[in-house]
Amino acid sequence: MLQCIFLLSDSGEVMLEKQLTGHRVDRSICAWFWEQSISQPDSLKVLPVIASPTHYLFQIVREGITFLACTQVEMPPLMGIEFLCRVADVLSDYLGGLNEDVIKDNFVIVYELLDEMIDNGFPLTTEPNILRDMIAPPNIVSKMLSVVTGNTSNVSDTLPGATSSCVPWRTTQLKHANNDVYVNLVEEMDAIINSDGVLVKCEIFGVVEVNSHLSGIPDLTLSFANPSILNDVQFHPCVRFRPWESEQILSFVPPDGLFKLMSYRVKKLKNTPVYVKPQISSESGTCRLSVMVGIRNDPGKVVDSLVVQFRLPHSVSSANLTANHGTVNILADKTCSWSIGRIPKDKAPQMSGTLVLEEGIEQLQVKPTFQVGFKIMGVALSGLKLNKLDLKNLPAPAHKGFRAQTEAGQYEVRS
């Protein structure tokens, strides 16, 4: 089981240490770890599971903060990693983001949270709803109160009822003036288009997000019109397995607020909404590059926030790129980013220009990969359709809402 958790800032400073068991871990392990991680070149990120001379380390990095956990005995490594991810999620939820300052400013809350989340190296309470009831998140009101009265406690003095209920994710005795529930389909499209322009992989990772503000203990049933297109699914613990196994219906008692009810995956899609066609030709030290972008299969909604990004190869010494629409930025780390926004009706956006190669190099051998970003509101490109949402066990009728959106995930075009 985990013995110790360290939080490291992006400069390697140990911001927090929390010993979990009687077997104390000296913080010198962090120095060892940091040395390892800075000695690695760029592309060689440090492994998430490392065997140090004295301990096994699990580490994840979130927004510059390294979460490091140590153990000396065999345990499922994914358990350690998954727990650290959960800690990071809870902290960033509480503190409204993660960075060095915000953790130092709220170190007491971080300590209290860690103490609740893990006991003797084994996770204790990781359900955000219960944690929220036990330790109040910092907010403006409590901050002002503490300034004025100098005395507020963020530790609740009663045990949340949910700890003992059979639906531990739901706070008991909830009352909302307006009962409403919203279902969002948020989809990410992953695609790989190879150097011949062939679509070799195209799939959708989607999340059914539910934002529920319902009183009492409601029982919800959600069904899809075409569940057969789903390749695989993952559920929030609140989803009952039986109805899904038999009829592919989601039956659940929702937590309060926003949560991910289910994630799904739809494979082997045939179409992408946009096309990106890069062309690179190099000759005697210079290299001509042009990228064309356009709508391929009109999704019926506006394609927004279109961005094309790529890294200039090492051998490029300077680049001169212009676009007939949108702006082109070349950052210090040789990342070139072309933000297009919406595609205009009348013309096809195009970026072109020359790359000057370093001296002595005639031709560009390596080819950059273009990462494409876009966002389409109001449509789920996987084609998944909700059939209906039934609410039971509700004191008052509730308002139901539905939305969908698709973004680009790992959408890559090779040149």
Binding site: E17, E74, I81, F83, F107, V108, S153, D190, Q234, I361
Partner: protein, 900 residues
Amino acid sequence: MFTQFSTTAENFSKASTMVFRIGTDAHLYDDPDDVSISPLLDSKFDSEKCEALKRLLALIAQGLDVSNYFPQVVKNVASQSLEVKKLVYLYLLHYAERRPNEALLSINIFQRDLGDQNPLVRAWALRTMAGIRLHVISPLVLVAVRKCARDPSVYVRKCAANALPKLHDLRLEENASAIIEIIGILLNDNSPGVVGAAAAAFASICPTNLPLIGRNYKRLCEILPDVEEWGQIILIGILLRYVSARHGLAKESIMSSLLPNIFSSEKSSESDTDYFEIKKTYEIGIQDPELVATVSRSYLAGPDKQLLNLNDSDVISPDYISSRFTSSKSDENVKLLLQCTSPLLWSRNSAVVLAAAGVHWIMAPMEEISKIVKPLLFLLRSSDASKYVVLCNIQVFAKVMPSLFAPNVEDFFISSSDAYQVKALKLEILSSIATDASISVIFQEFQDYVRDPDRRFAADTVAAIGLCAKKNPQVANTCVEGLLALTSPKTVNSTSGSMDDEAMVLIQAITSIKDIVKQDPVSHENAIIILIRNLDAIKVPVARAMIVWIAGEYNSIGNIIPKMVPVILRFLARGFPSESIETKYQILNAAVKVLLNSKEEDFHTAKSILNYVLELAKFDLNYDVRDRARVLRKLLSCYFSSSGPAEKPDNNEIRLLLAEHVFGDKTKPSTKTVNNRFYLPGSLSQIVFHAAPGYEPLPEPCSLTESDMVKGLEEPAQAEADDSDIDSGSLNEEGSYYSEDSVTTSTGIDDESAASESDNNDNNTDSLINFSDVSKPQEGTNDLSELMSKGALESWLDDNDNDNRGSSQNVAERIPSARISIGDISTRIKPKVYTLLDPTYGNGLKVMYKYSSEASTISPSLVSVDTFFENCSSEPMSKLSMSNEDSESSDQGRYIYLSI
């Protein structure tokens, strides 16, 4: 003016951060000791105490030692404010071990808090009290835990379960039985949350006490989907161990590769359809049965042990093994386990999914394993860190059963945002799951990867291409063409970036070509020609050396090469002094090979080239080159002796034969270096490639018998206190008198020694007892069972007595009241054998001991031990002595002479 402006801007930003940080604990973290902490701690206001404690916490966070405040802090544990309490607890747990005496001051308060109305207070008190880790208070903690285990609040019961490992960690023998009893209670709890925590306690305290699980097996399976995710991970592992220990492995699963008759079809005595069915499904998915067997064996025995016992496993009788198997189709328990873990494949927690997939991998029938593929692949979309771990596990699955993942090639296509390690893993998986159908798609992908800006990854891709071509010879030609393009002068010269990176790709490309050509040199004649042509343009020493080697090695293939090679050699010989050392070696070798292979007409040319090169090498700066030249000249002296034959000498001269042998022999295919270390899926050891402390392979299948279960029910504590008594008790069906004894007197083991002579026959593993004065060692078992079937208990006891007289030294009267219950003694039930001396440390002598299944006849308070000697070396051994160190009497030593 500008400076002024900038200062105001600075002030402004400072001010704004101040505003932002108001109300947080920022100032406490930044300057924790800007006020004196002691008076604050003694303050009567909770808010001031809080501030002091927060300052202390900040100092702890920054790594400073503030244990000197301990007495003052401990006082505050009595505070009514929950926030103060919480902060005090945080401090206390950090330092309690260092200040035990002061920590004791807080115990009374904890005791009071344990009776509090508020479950939160009770839970905190218990957690802190258990966390203090003082031996003195452990009885108090035990009482507290016992009380809290029956608390009405689920949360408190959960904390009680978590407190158990803390208590166990103090290693107090007297508590062991009580702790296990409490685990039993908590495992039986109605709340899934408590069961999860109890499972974690079970796994860390007594993972071998499987009877405890057996009692609740069905209920635990049913409750599994409702247990919280962290508990699920642990509970899945426990249930898997239980099923394999109690009911054995499934014969339809991959573990069936351990069934001996699967591979050797001529031995297939069972000709029932069932068996053929297994064999058929077997052949569908698996390409390398040897590997599967290795993997399954290491799941059972652990790779390190498995390497040692590699030969033993062949000796174990087939019946013995097949009795360890059950059917996952008909066995209710196995079915139940698979059924209740399959919905967990939909969990959002990647660790749960992997654990559930591990169960299916080991237990599910082979045709149903494909169930785990989609969930595993879905995990690749979770965080980067878990992606790596999941890929490490998929890699093993894909190697063992490539057909599983073969339809999902595109899931392993590399995205430019992947970390290098992830890319490398994906490449390896891709090359192992490539099939005839998918190979073209994969090659298309590889072509893109080769042009990736990360050159190290490109080099790995080139290596993967080589692997694929070796596996699927029909694509070898395409591969070689692609690889040759990488070595073409055009590519090599116009490369970009650092030369080292490019060199890496080039070397890898030539290595891959070399490997492919080696398989079938004749059909790749063209490739060799092209490589030799490119030699001029290739400057990287390692690459050059490799090409020269290829030229020398295949100098007689086809029609063109034999004409080319002497020309090339002449050219190389001219530039010999400027070549790098490794190229020089290869030029020397190639020149010799050409000479040995040369036909009449070329003989003179070849000879003069070699002569020239040797002459140059003689004056080389590098002594190794000089030495080689000297050796070669001596070896081939028949060519160079002044009066030597002008014609090619006869083939029968000894030196020449030697030279032919060294240079002419075609290189043997190198032995495959496969990573043979496999650990259970989802374990830490599988990721770090060594057995982490606490790693346990699956328990011996069917090692848990009905009697263990009964005994476990009666005395869960006994079973835990000494592992061995599970084994020694296996003969007793109802009573467990002797196993009890063995616990109480386990220190007395040394007082008795039973030595035995083992004649190292292949029945070794089957023999139960081998005594020095029993003439037919093997028949001891049979006698026993025969006699017992007649029910002649008395005569058996007499017989047994004789045996013991020969073995144990202090023979006394047997005790007539000895109670022995007779069960079904068969070869199936075997006491566990422990290794006393390993062959590697004992100069080939292997000594094993085990607790004899018979009760000692001298006194019920003694235990008899059987010792086996085995000579694993080829030499005879003599003067083996075995002495008793504990006993005072000096004549305990016994000498045994072995003549093997």
